[in-house]
């Protein structure tokens, strides 16, 4: 699920050997390149490569821990007014004296189509463990989201259950931060998390804060958090710095930790297929909103570097349609517009719907504005 994909990014940051991170990232990139992005569906997610200090919440934390994780989603075309997304996560960790632990899950998520607010429901199945000590796991998740201008807030509740009781016998729950009493009582069968995440995107800069409260018995009740800042050098490549306190990953043998990382973030989805043209790299000047132009009934948009650009209007029956990237700062509608008056809105990186410069801004009747263009 989306939450665990974020945790995956954190785990990568805690990896102590570079080659492992690179290997995991290469697998992710291969997957990203193998799945074509189309107008109707697209791959989404982030891949992080990073390093930094980590202070494990365990008494015998001198073991070297190798850990890698990858999560991604594949977003399909609308279905019954919902936005379906297939999600997958894969994680691997090991210590010198322990058998490597492996975890994976695959799931589906349905998001309502509201642009400024919405709810989602998701479910995933998978397994985690090491050797013959493996356990099936299921996750159910429900959340709400709200966009306020350049900011977005998510709030969700999830339950993760293990098919068998996690015990001390294998590597399934080797979190020595857990009190022995818990383990002696029989371990963990499930836990519930309440998570929240806020993100603010301003041009090339992105600030994020997430807080997750794991609920249950006193032994597993923990709070995890992360504060991150990203500078998107290019639409799909950014430098990210983060600090926080992670939650123990049951099944991956990863205990909780305080950490700080600096690394590279690669964004999946809507990657530019066209080399950057000279002179297109500069952010449009004297403009605080995207610039739209229509020539020969072809719609073109210029804006600051962004990963995705979408349009919706009367020519799409008001369904979001990805614009095709021409460069890092230019996009185009792959079909010609019919002559006449059209209404439209644009958005970038899933943000708020905007009226571009070059379109007439008129009242949309819903408390916002919609762009009006006249095509000859």
């Amino acid at each position: 699920m989306s939450q665990s994909r974020d945790q995956g990014a954190r785990c990568l940051a805690m990896t102590s050997l570079l080659w492992r991170r690179v290997a995991t990232g290469c697998i992710a990139l291969a997957l990203a390149l193998a799945v074509p992005a189309s107008a109707a569906a697209q791959l989404v997610g982030n891949i992080d490569f990073g390093t930094g200090p980590a202070s494990w919440d365990q008494t015998d934390g001198r073991d070297q821990l190798l850990n890698g994780a990858f999560g991604a989603g594949y977003r399909f075309a609308d279905f019954l007014g919902l936005q379906p997304e297939l999600t997958g996560d894969f994680g691997l960790s090991s210590r010198p004296a322990k058998e490597a632990a492996l975890g994976w899950n695959i799931g589906a998520r349905f998001d309502t189509k509201g642009t400024d607010r919405g709810v989602w429901l998701g479910a995933a199945i998978g397994a985690a463990g090491s050797g013959n000590q493996r356990s099936a796991l299921t996750t159910l998740e429900a959340g709400v989201r709200r966009a306020l201008g350049p900011a977005r807030v998510d709030l969700w509740l999830s339950r993760t259950g293990f098919g068998t009781r996690i015990s001390t016998g294998g590597g399934l729950a080797q979190d020595s931060a857990l009190p022995d009493t818990l383990v002696r009582r029989g371990g963990v069968t499930d836990y519930i998390e309440l998570g929240s995440r806020a993100a603010l995107r301003l041009s090339r800069y992105e600030l994020g804060l997430s807080v997750t409260q794991r609920m249950g018995s006193a032994a597993i009740r923990r709070t995890g958090w992360e504060l991150s800042a990203t500078w998107w050098m290019m639409p799909s490549v950014g430098i990210v710095g983060s600090t926080g306190h992670s939650l123990p990953e049951f099944g991956f043998t990863v205990p909780s930790a305080r950490y700080g990382t600096v690394g590279l973030r690669l964004a999946l989805g809507a990657r530019s297929q066209v080399p950057v043209a000279r002179g297109d790299e500069a952010e449009p000047k004297s403009s605080n909103r995207p610039m739209l132009s229509v020539a020969d009934r072809r719609l073109t948009v210029r804006w600051a570097p962004a990963r995705t650009a979408e349009v919706m209007g009367d020519f799409t029956d008001w369904k979001p349609l990805p614009l095709a990237p021409m460069s890092e700062v230019r996009w185009t509608l792959p079909v010609a517009l019919s002559p006449g008056v059209h209404h439209l809105n644009l958005r970038f990186d899933g943000g708020a719907w905007l009226v571009p410069a070059g379109a007439f801004a008129v009242d949309d009747g819903f408390g916002g504005r919609v762009g009006l263009i006249v095509v000859r």
Partner: protein, 178 residues
């Protein structure tokens, strides 16, 4: 007997919605109550010989923007009122595009007299662009009277569409936030 009478009225006397007012796009995007109310507005528009597609699109726009059903119905009804007024001001031979632009101008604060005046001034030219420029200038914060003065002045001079676009660019700085 009362029940039979009520059933009779329900089955035979309730006016059915015209088939062409039932748009499959609405069925997949709106809840049944909202769809029924929007379709009633479409039926009214057809009776007034107004284009229904802008009304359908307004409903779809509301659905995509996450507006609640009553808000969608209110927006569609408001557009019907504006289209009706635009038709009154521009005449029955007006194109759908001109009606849409006229509705936007009326929504921005233009009066029927203003819309009628621009039609008479540009009897041989389109009014969609001048009306859209007016709506845009008002949306950008320009007072209605000032915006209309600029637009009507250019219309009286016989300005073409390019000149109206230049007027808009001159009066409303590029990049101004909507």
């Amino acid at each position: 007997m009362f029940r039979l009478t009520a059933l009779f009225f329900f089955l035979f006397l309730q006016p059915p919605a015209p088939a062409d007012a039932q748009d499959p796009r609405l069925a997949s995007r709106l809840d049944s109550l909202t769809r029924t109310q929007v379709e009633a507005v479409l039926t009214t528009a057809e009776g007034r010989q107004l284009p229904v597609e802008p009304l359908v699109q307004k409903a779809l726009e509301g659905a995509s923007k996450g507006a609640p059903g009553p808000r969608i119905v209110a927006a569609v009804q408001a557009l019907l009122v504006d289209l009706t007024r635009a038709q009154q001001g521009l005449g029955r031979n007006t194109t759908a595009d001109e009606l849409v632009a006229g509705a936007a101008a009326l929504r921005a604060g233009a009066t029927l007299e203003m819309v009628d005046g621009i039609r008479r001034t540009r009897a041989n030219g389109g009014v969609a662009v001048p009306l859209a420029v007016f709506a845009d200038l008002v949306a950008g914060g320009m007072p209605v009277d000032a915006a209309w003065h600029s637009v009507s002045e250019l219309a009286q001079k016989g300005g073409d569409e390019e000149q109206f676009l230049e007027l808009r660019e001159r009066l409303r700085p590029r990049g101004e936030s909507p």
